[in-house]
Symmetry: C2
Subunit: 207 residues, 2 copies
C-alpha cells in the first residue's frame, strides 16, 4: 500500500515538473532555460528536479509526448459510425479543447526545433503522424460517403484543419475568446466549406 | 555612378547574407547558429559578415521584417473595389505564394521567440498586426456586403485563415504539392465556408 502511494506521489511530482517546465521553456526558450530556473519556479532545489529528471531533454520529450497523447486519446475515440460532419465537429471541438488546455505544452512542441535532433523524438513524430492520418481518414470518409465535396483533397484539407487549430497556440491567450466560440466558428467554416451539393451560380461562372 | 553601383553591391550582399542566414538559422536554430556557421555557409570570412551585420540579432530582425514586408506589399494592393470572394481568393493566393517563396524566413520568424525580447521587435510585430487587420477588414467587408455569412465572426475567421496559410511553413516542403494546388483547395474551403445564403436542411436540424 505504501508502495502504491509512493508511486502515485512520484507520478504527481513528475506531472507537476512537466507542467511547470512547459511554462518556463515557453517563456525563456528551451535553450536558455536552465534546471536552476525550473527548480526556482517549482520552489524546490535543483537536486530535487534532477531526482525526477536527470536531463533537461527528457523533460522536453515528455512534455511533447504527453501533449500529443492527450490529442491522440480523443481522436482515437472519434466514432466512425457517425456522419462525417458530426465526426469533424467532434474532432475540432476535442482538438481546440486539448490545445487550449495544454497551450504551453503545444507551444513548446511547436517551437523547439531541437527536439527533432534527439533520436527519441521519433516517438513524438510517430504520434503526430498518427493524429494527422486519423484526421485525413475522417475527411476522406466524408468524401467517399458523398457527404463532403467530391473534389476535395483530403490531405490538403487535413493540413488546413491542423493549421487552423494548431495556430491557436499563438493567439488564444491574448484573444479574449472562449474555446466554445472558437469551436463554433471553426466548425461553421469547415462544415460549410466541405459539405457537398452546394454549388452556387458564382462557382459556375468562375470555374 | 560608382557610388550608386557600390550601393547596389552593398544591398545585394546584404540580401544574400539574409537569405543564407535564414537557412542556417532554421537548420541549427537561431541560438545555436554562430556567425562562423553563417560565414562558412556563404563561403566568406567571419569579418566579411560582420562588415555587413555587426550583430546576429540584426540579421534575425531583418529576415523577419523583410518577410513581413513582402506579405504586406501584396495585401496593401488587394483591390477593395472587388467582391469579397475575389479579394479573399487573391489574398490566399498571394499569401501562399509569399509563404512558399520565403519558407525559411517565415520559419525563422515563427520559431524564434527571442525576437520578441528585442525592443526593435516592435517594428516586426507592428507589421504582423497590420497584416492581420487587413485580412480582418477584407472578411468584415464581405460580411457587411451580405456576400459572406452574416453570423461569421471576422476576427476568428481571420485567425483561421492565417493559421491555415502560415502552417505551410511546417509541411509545404515535404508535401510534394504545388502552391497552385494548395491555393485551389484553401480557396474552395474558405469561399464555400464563408459564402452567404447556403443553409442546408442539416444546419436547420442541428442548430
Amino acid at each position: 500500500m505504501a508502495r502504491v502511494r509512493n508511486d502515485e506521489q512520484y507520478e504527481l511530482r513528475r506531472a507537476r515538473i512537466l507542467s511547470e517546465a512547459a511554462k518556463v521553456f515557453r517563456q525563456k526558450g528551451y535553450n536558455s532555460a536552465t534546471m536552476e530556473d525550473l527548480a526556482s519556479a517549482l520552489g524546490v532545489t535543483k537536486a530535487a528536479v534532477y531526482y525526477y529528471y536527470p536531463k533537461k531533454n527528457d523533460i522536453l520529450l515528455e512534455i511533447c509526448e504527453q501533449a500529443l497523447d492527450r490529442a491522440l486519446e480523443r481522436i482515437r475515440q472519434n466514432d466512425s459510425s457517425q456522419p462525417a460532419a458530426d465526426r469533424l465537429r467532434q474532432m475540432v471541438s476535442d482538438h481546440v479543447e486539448i490545445m487550449t488546455d495544454n497551450l504551453e505544452e503545444f507551444a513548446v512542441f511547436f517551437q523547439e526545433l531541437d527536439l527533432r535532433r534527439d533520436p527519441r523524438a521519433r516517438r513524438v513524430i510517430t504520434r503526430q503522424r498518427e493524429f494527422a492520418t486519423r484526421v485525413e481518414e475522417l475527411v476522406q470518409a466524408g468524401i467517399d460517403a458523398g457527404e463532403f465535396r467530391g473534389e476535395a483533397d483530403a490531405a490538403l484539407v487535413t493540413m488546413a484543419i491542423l493549421g487552423m487549430c494548431n495556430w491557436l497556440y499563438r493567439w488564444f491567450r491574448t484573444s479574449g475568446r472562449s474555446p466554445d466560440e472558437i469551436v463554433q466558428e471553426f466548425d461553421a467554416l469547415l462544415v460549410h466549406g466541405l459539405l457537398a451539393g452546394r454549388p452556387t451560380a458564382r462557382d459556375g461562372a468562375k470555374r
